[in-house]
Point group: C2
Chain length 214, copies 2
């Protein structure tokens, strides 16, 4: 018994060592652990896939029409949330300051797109970020300021602060305000064969309990 115990423990150590190396080599698994990410929906289910991308990403690129660059598009990295974790509704809410060109431009010309990728979620594994099976979603529509005293603002602020707790402490004198993207068009690539047809109605038809079932 005295001689078998060290061998058992050594094997135990070796198991954790190789598990450790395996997990570090697998961005998918490491992100599943970090974010508690539910499994990716079947790529055939465009609405579920799009909602999964919106619900589980924490940041994306918000593109507006730049007045400074005389009408050229300008993409900016922003944090967002579409609801409390597990209760996403599909509308991306942002916390922006007019010190930043994106909010300033969006208030002048609301035409915007918001782009997220499956890649940073870690579930693409070794698939190239541009490969269509590594899903990507562009939501297009109008960027709008959310009325600060509305029920929607309360929902949005809870959603944002739950996903981005640092926001609570962002400088008051920067006048951060809640914006949302009013979605008019969706562009989803999640498999070969071009973008999936997906209307805002189909995207939004998911009820909360269906979101839970992801």
């Amino acid at each position: 018994m005295a001689s078998s115990s060290p061998s058992m423990s050594t094997r135990f150590a070796a198991f954790y060592f190789f598990l450790c190396v395996h997990l570090l080599q697998s961005p998918a698994y490491s992100n599943v652990i970090v974010l508690g990410l539910p499994p990716k929906p079947d790529p055939k289910d465009a609405a579920a896939t799009a909602r999964w991308l919106t619900a589980h990403n924490s940041w994306g690129v918000l593109s507006t029409i730049s007045s400074e660059l005389r009408g050229a598009p300008f993409g900016n990295v922003v944090s967002f949330s579409d609801g409390l974790p597990g209760y996403g509704r599909g509308i991306p809410y942002f916390y922006l300051t007019e010190l930043d060109p994106t909010a300033r431009d969006g208030l002048k010309d609301g035409r915007s797109s918001f782009t997220v990728s499956e890649y940073p979620l870690g579930t693409c594994g070794k698939i190239d970020p541009e490969d269509p099976t590594c899903a990507k979603l562009t939501l297009s529509g109008k960027l709008k300021l959310v009325d600060n005293h509305s029920v929607e603002a309360e929902f949005a602020q809870n959603a944002l602060f739950a996903k981005h707790p640092d926001m609570k402490g962002w400088p008051k004198n920067h006048n951060f305000e809640i914006f949302k993207l009013d979605i008019e068009n969706l562009f989803l690539l999640d498999w070969y064969g071009g973008p999936k047809p997906l209307t805002p109605k189909e995207y939004f038809r998911y009820e909360e309990k269906e979101i839970h079932s992801y």
Copy 2:
């Protein structure tokens, strides 16, 4: 000795277990291991920081003016490369097909921006993706097709295929072509106090040996 050995091995196993948990909780460390990422430059060095972001990201969001969406901005997830690993030159090269709206739109109206974030590199740790100290870079200019028979096309193809080996096998009948962004303007946020002043000349003045010294 017989009784101390299992204890040693158990402690060895425990060490790997906690190391494993620690590494999984630290996206920075796991990405450093996966990508072999050189340290982030001093945020005071705007050019070095911008070049580091371009050199070490593998994907970003390319925004063009959408003809389908009547002039609205459209951001799309794309892979890119600015050179062989360690030999980046700062110009982002893309491998795009006109089956995708970004290439079609870019050929009609070249005004584009390309956005990358420090966040997916893992070095932001627990800093929020929108926090200015989690660096973000938007390169603006004109999207241009690279002449297929030029020396630049050879450089760009080597750069792209080295970083994205899957591209070599992408369907020939999709007619992927090499595009680049001719940079006219840079927007870099890498610290508090607003975007860093940075001209294309300053961004490009880095010689290869300086890039190596990152």
